[in-house]
């Protein structure tokens, strides 16, 4: 599970860092003054973009540094290098949040990096059962992540009406029609109009919203150890793949990090010690 989680951390961090660098380079290509607007954050500045890009390069370096550790994880040097790389990823994301309001993706990647850092530090510096400690840590945070996600959706009338799913799907297809490659173009604007005018489609989205909230709460309880690991994975993997349809390019690192966290959580869930 540690190797799976490490691979997930590498992939999620690399994807996130590459997307930051790609965004900065695109802004520079489009606007000579490097001024583009980010809702909630205002206009970009050349200085800030430079800092974001440098930090992302550092994050990318730390993620790449974890790759050989997957192969030679048993050695002391590998454990020390893993601590350094996980620390680098956490430091990058903590710095990134001062320049760009952190998405939940950054929080999830940071938790996964912290869990792995804890594992390698416990293995290197203590006699404590590292896998057990790390599993409990991941179980605690994975449960919080999914239970909060499910509860917030239940509290949101907009989400439970299915309209968040409708609006996000419509927005993705609308952007795809304008040539935005971040979204999958699986329907043309007239086809999207037919979908939005269909009561069956709106009802299906309402059902999907209800299922999403229920699934997240179930996975949250599963990550605590109340459900078998196989069942938790069989719920988590399809639901995360479904979320990817909404915005594949931006959601992918969150998906990978969340699945890595669940993999660690299910190795030693919090409640197994009590039950």
């Amino acid at each position: 599970m540690i190797i799976v989680a490490t691979l997930c951390l590498v992939l999620a961090s690399l994807w996130r860092a590459v997307s930051v660098v790609a965004d900065v380079q695109r802004i520079r290509r489009v606007d000579a003054h490097q001024r583009m607007y980010r809702p909630g954050l205002g206009w970009t500045t050349p200085h800030e973009l430079e800092l974001r890009q440098r930090a992302a390069w550092a994050g990318m370096g730390a993620a790449i540094g974890l790759v050989p550790i997957v192969v030679i994880s048993a050695s002391t040097v590998a454990a020390a290098a893993a601590i350094f790389c996980c620390g680098g990823i956490i430091a990058w994301l903590l710095y990134e949040r001062t320049l760009h309001r952190a998405r939940y993706t950054s929080v999830c990647i940071s938790i996964l990096a912290s869990a792995l850092l804890l594992y390698y530090a416990a293995r290197l510096f203590t006699q404590l059962p590292a896998a057990y400690l790390t599993g409990m840590f991941a179980s605690f945070f994975a449960s919080q992540l999914y239970l909060v996600a499910g509860l917030r959706k239940l509290q949101s009338a907009q989400f439970m009406s299915g309209r968040v799913i409708v609006d996000n799907l419509a927005y993705g297809l609308y952007q795809a029609a304008a040539g935005n490659r971040e979204f999958i173009r699986f329907a043309s604007p007239p086809q999207l109009a037919d979908l939005l005018a269909s009561k069956k489609f709106l009802s299906a989205c309402r059902l999907a919203a209800l299922l999403t909230a229920a699934l997240e709460l179930t996975i949250g309880l599963g990550a605590l150890g109340l459900l078998p690991a196989l069942l938790v994975f069989s719920l988590a993997i399809p639901s995360h793949l479904a979320f990817i349809i909404v915005s594949p390019y931006r959601i992918a690192p969150f998906t990978v990090a969340a699945l890595g966290l669940i993999a660690m959580a299910m190795s030693h869930p919090l409640l197994t010690a009590i039950l």
Partner: protein, 129 residues
């Protein structure tokens, strides 16, 4: 004993996460709502979807509200004329910014009409642009 303490802490953490603002820097509670901006321009009466580059929106901008659109369309962006349909948790709005007259209109839409407006717009768009 440690596990029981962790469970109590988890319960408190979940309660806090369910109530905290998702807009905080490094928030422990993810978004459960959305507000989207469907922006377009009209050339000879034919609508065309505006892409991010044309309106100088950063590539990772996935939400839009009327106050954000106002800031986007300040003096930095006065050369662009656009129409927009804002849909979601910040209310539903039909907006128009005219670069020639510097005139802008923001009209609130009654709840339930926003999807009809979007359907009408989508039916006017060419299948490929």
């Amino acid at each position: 004993m440690v596990e029981f303490i962790l469970l109590v802490l988890l319960a408190l953490f979940v309660c806090w996460g369910a109530r905290t603002s998702p807009n905080r820097s490094f928030s422990w509670g993810m978004y459960s709502g959305s507000t989207k901006g469907f922006l377009w321009t009209e050339v000879a009466g034919v609508p065309r979807v505006l892409n991010y580059d044309e309106v100088r929106l950063a590539p990772d901008s996935h939400f839009m509200s009327v106050p954000e659109l106002r800031r986007l369309m300040d003096k930095e962006n006065q050369k662009i004329s656009l129409n927009g349909l804002i849909i979601g948790s910040s209310g539903n709005w039909l907006v128009r910014y005219d670069s020639d007259t510097k005139h802008h209109v923001e009209k609130s839409l009654p709840v339930g009409l926003e999807l009809d407006q979007l359907v009408t717009l989508l039916r006017r768009l060419p299948p490929r642009q």
